[in-house]
Symmetry: C2
Subunit: 389 residues, 2 copies
């Protein structure tokens, strides 16, 4: 006998992430185009060590004590100032964007509720929201972002929440155009449906001009979330949610009943790190690095990939999303790629519906320039073999 017979119906909807299964097979020799990990050499280790000392000196044991659920006020003030028209009381910290997504699911989704998500979209968001038993409606995405007619159809069908990554989306790399942003907001307002705007990559723009956040365009109905994971480091799990008072108050209570608060220590340490360094210069360095990495990969892809592989050129973020011709299966190809020591992520898990078996995601964040050239050459040769069969 096993007490597992008492698992909830919800438990059956919790499944391990496909990406993690792929990563588990990697070795030190594998060229890492799979992971969504940021580049470690960009982490401000010196500032972390220095600020640890300064913070312990200044605050003593307070930094290791319980504190309020919303988070350290000076940090919330700084975050609000980055995200007009937010004020500090509209900010609540979360343990990574993933938790922000989970909390929004907890607060909004009853079993059977319809949720509109882009096709493709962030796997971990699908996994987190799926726990609450929604019916996902996959909204078509193209190089400009969500296709408005497809979003409208989802809203007509009864979607009560829209999840979208407007800037350099994972996995598509797409940055939603201004026209599309306006269209998405107009539709969400017309149907009175909230938007969860997931923006971990917004600061990683390496070409073109920044566009307004959806939150700025509709602060009453957009729940904005972002994270320190890609702009400082992911290893402390500090992210934040910003929303209208009646939304953030409920999300803050949801955070409180779920795990009380983000650790006082890590939120204060990140605050002091960000304040102690020239953060604008740090972001320039981060953007410059990813921009160069992306260009190296695009150049190599142009040289080695056969014509049948389609992809867009990202203007920011960490990913290039590719499509094989219909009928090809990226997961099958991955098994051979892994034998040749190159890892990528098959796209199927990024789609809420049955699409995407012919797609895959390449990340340029971790590999060295030499690895990018070598790995893309290996993949190019493999794709040529596959497409000529």
């Amino acid at each position: 006998m096993s007490v597992t017979k008492h698992f909830s119906n919800r438990a059956a909807r919790m499944q391990p992430a496909a990406i993690r299964a792929v990563l588990a097979q990697m070795t030190a020799e594998t060229i890492p185009f799979a992971a969504g990990k940021p580049a470690q050499h960009l982490f401000p280790l010196d500032a972390i060590y220095q600020q640890t000392g300064a913070m312990l000196e200044k605050h003593g044991g307070d930094v290791l004590q319980y504190s309020g659920t919303a988070g350290f006020l000076p940090l919330r003030e700084w975050l609000a100032a980055q995200t007009p028209p937010a004020t500090a009381d509209q900010v609540c910290l979360a343990a990574g964007s993933a938790q922000a997504i989970d909390l929004v699911g907890k607060v909004f989704i009853d079993e059977g509720d319809k949720v509109a998500v882009e096709a493709p979209t962030y796997t971990a968001a699908l996994s987190a929201l799926k726990v609450y038993g929604p019916e996902f409606i996959a909204v078509d995405g193209d190089a400009d972002g969500m296709v408005l007619a497809s979003l409208e159809a989802a809203l007509v069908a009864g979607a009560k929440l829209i999840y979208v990554i407007p800037n350099f989306a994972n996995p598509s790399g797409v940055c939603m155009t201004q026209e599309r942003r306006e269209g998405v907001i107009a539709l969400a307002k017309r149907f009175e449906v909230p938007i969860l705007e997931d923006d971990p990559y917004g600061e990683l723009r390496f070409s073109g001009d920044p566009l307004p956040n959806l939150f700025e365009m509709w602060p009453e109905g957009v729940i904005y979330c972002s994270s320190f994971s890609k702009i400082v480091a992911p290893g402390m799990r500090v992210a934040w949610m910003i929303a209208a008072p009646e939304l953030i108050s409920k999300l803050t209570i949801a955070k409180q009943v779920t795990d009380l608060q983000v650790g006082t220590y890590q939120q204060m340490l990140l605050h002091y790190v960000v304040q102690s360094i020239d953060f604008a210069a740090h972001l320039e360095e981060v953007r410059g690095y990813y921009g160069r990495q992306c260009q190296v990969m695009l150049d190599a892809m142009g040289q080695h990939f056969p014509a049948g592989i389609c992809y867009d050129r990202p203007a920011g973020g960490m990913f290039i999303f590719c499509r094989l011709p219909d009928g090809y299966n990226a997961l099958e190809i991955l098994h051979e790629a892994m034998r040749r020591d190159v890892a990528f992520v098959p796209g199927e898990s990024f789609f809420a519906d049955e699409r995407g078996a012919n797609t895959f995601r390449l990340s340029y964040s971790l590999a060295s320039e030499a690895q990018i050239n070598e790995g893309i050459a290996i993949l190019g040769a493999l794709f040529r073999e596959v497409l000529s069969e």
Copy 2:
């Protein structure tokens, strides 16, 4: 119009914790018998600073990168060794015990499921589990722990999960006797119902001999959770769950889909801190401190409290739980106590049913010896006034 109309039914079950509302009214002058916060002077600040440097030197950026959901293997090995017969692969970290409780609720509770909880029990556990829509069955508790006939009645009524704090419970301070432990395990086995054993205070025993964990007595059916919050510090939010393979695997997936992982940084730092200090001596210091604080409070209560206030002497933990005669309301008395600059927690929120309006919890963790004597004298005078009215 507001998008709050799209809140889930679940959202209505999320309410702010009563304890936090009380704490918000406290000033620097308030004598702090309310908070469940551990004593800050026991936090190993020097070791944290030293190990930060050593860890960054040894591991570099790895400590700030994503890592596996279960947690840093050497830490899991150490935790398993403290909790026989566990092995490291039966351990998964969580962001505080509160999150462990939330994850167990997520994995086990469908709306309407019956859950057996002691009366009284930890408020935050009730708040976390309540989100999933259970029907709580309040099991009578006395000075020996859960009353077995009452637990049996709960199981006959269909309870599918038992939540219990066997060691120095919050708020009761009670340590369940060996006989009761055996009785609880026998009942849980007979009804094939899992137990969530919440053990944040187990190491804080300052008199008597340790008793076996419920997990040790029934490793197939008990989910054990504990935390660094009371033995090192709460401010990094690092706790752990230990359970049989088929249980921990599902709980680990639940953790993964909820927020990916506990921060790599804080789990590794706590690991190195615990390894770097004489941890047994540290625990001795912690136990000695709480034992002395408890004795000071008990002595003062013996001197100042009127006969109508009943309480047990705890053998560990941070709390003394008190009962006024039936018909008195501790929340009403708290308002006057706060005017006299003494805070405590009214007991009502610790009960899943309507009981407890005449109970309250005193914490001896934060107040100085002088504050304990002064605060207990003030409360004693107030209780004499109230009881003589």
